[in-house]
C-alpha cells in the first residue's frame, strides 16, 4: 500500500465519520463544526486527485461560504446558539433505506474495470476554456441559475410578506 492509498483511506474514514456525527449530534453548532471538517476533508481528497482548482473551490464555497451561511441560519433562528435540538428517533425504515442504497451501490462496484489507469492532471486554463467552451456555456448557465436563486431568496425574505 503506497502513501496515496494510505492518505485516501484516512481521508475517507474522516469524511464518513464526520458526516455521520454531524447528523447525529444534538447541538447544532457542533454539527456546523463537523460539517466544516467534512468539507475541508473532501477538498483534501480533490487535491489528492490532482484537481487543485476544484479543491480550492470546495474550500472557498463549501468550507467558507456554505458553513458561514448555515451558522448564520442558526444564529438568526435561535435565542441561544448553544441550545440543543430535540431528539428524534432514528427509525428502522430510514436506516433500512440507507442500507439498501449503500448495498446496491457497492454491489455495482463489480461493473467497473478494477485496473486503475494513469491519473490525469488538467491546467486551470484548460478547465476555464471548457467552462465557456464547445460543449455549452456551463459558466453562463450557472450564473443565470445563481441569479435566479438569489432573486428567489430575496423575494422569500423581504419585509411585509406574509
Amino acid at each position: 500500500m503506497n502513501l496515496e492509498e494510505l492518505a485516501f483511506l484516512a481521508l475517507a474514514i474522516v469524511a464518513l465519520v464526520t458526516a455521520v456525527a454531524a447528523l447525529l449530534v444534538r447541538e447544532l453548532v457542533h454539527t456546523i463544526l463537523l460539517v466544516s471538517v467534512f468539507f475541508v476533508d473532501l477538498s483534501a481528497i480533490y487535491f489528492l486527485l490532482e484537481a487543485p482548482f476544484l479543491g480550492v473551490l470546495q474550500l472557498g464555497v463549501y468550507a467558507g461560504a456554505v458553513t458561514i451561511l448555515l451558522l448564520f441560519g442558526i444564529m438568526v433562528t435561535r435565542k441561544r446558539i448553544f441550545s440543543r435540538d430535540a431528539a428524534t428517533g432514528l427509525g428502522p425504515v430510514p436506516l433500512a433505506l440507507a442500507a439498501v442504497t449503500f448495498i446496491f451501490l457497492v454491489a455495482s462496484v463489480g461493473e467497473f474495470p478494477s485496473s486503475p489507469s494513469t491519473l490525469q492532471t488538467y491546467a486551470p486554463a484548460l478547465l476555464s476554456a471548457q467552462l465557456f467552451g464547445p460543449d455549452g456555456p456551463w459558466l453562463l448557465l450557472l450564473g443565470v441559475i445563481m441569479l435566479g436563486g438569489v432573486a428567489g431568496a430575496i423575494y422569500l425574505v423581504r419585509e411585509g410578506r406574509e
Binding site: L23, L28, T31, L48, T77, V106, Q130, L142, L156
Partner: protein, 105 residues
C-alpha cells in the same frame, strides 16, 4: 504515479449518499435537512471528480466542468434554503419541518 482503486471511491461516495439519505429522512430540523442534502450532493461531486481524473482529456475536462457547476448549484441551493428557513421561522416561530403543515388537507 497515483493509482487509487475505483472500488474505494465508489464505496466512499455510496456511503456518503446513504448517510445523506438517512439524514434527509430522519431529521426534522430544516438546517440539518439542508446539511444532509449537501452530504449527498458532495457524494455526487466526488464521483465526477474521480472519474474525471482517470478519463481521457476531453471527457475529463467535461467532468471537472460539471463538478464546478454542481458546486455552484449547491451554494445557490443553500442560499435559497436559508431564505426558506428565515421565512418559516418568521411565520411559525420554529424551523421544525414537522410543524409546516399548511399544504396538508
Amino acid at each position: 504515479m497515483t493509482s487509487l482503486p475505483v472500488e474505494w471511491f465508489l464505496v466512499l461516495s455510496g456511503g456518503l449518499l446513504a448517510v445523506g439519505i438517512f439524514g434527509l429522512l430522519t431529521r426534522r430540523n430544516f438546517i440539518l435537512i439542508l446539511i444532509a442534502v449537501e452530504v449527498a450532493m458532495n457524494a455526487t461531486i466526488l464521483n465526477f471528480v474521480y472519474f474525471a481524473a482517470f478519463a481521457p482529456t476531453s471527457a475529463g475536462l467535461s467532468g471537472q466542468a460539471i463538478a464546478v457547476v454542481l458546486i455552484g448549484f449547491a451554494a445557490t441551493e443553500v442560499a435559497v434554503g436559508l431564505a426558506i428557513v428565515l421565512a418559516l421561522n418568521r411565520v411559525k416561530g420554529t424551523i421544525n419541518v414537522a410543524q409546516a403543515t399548511e399544504l396538508r388537507e
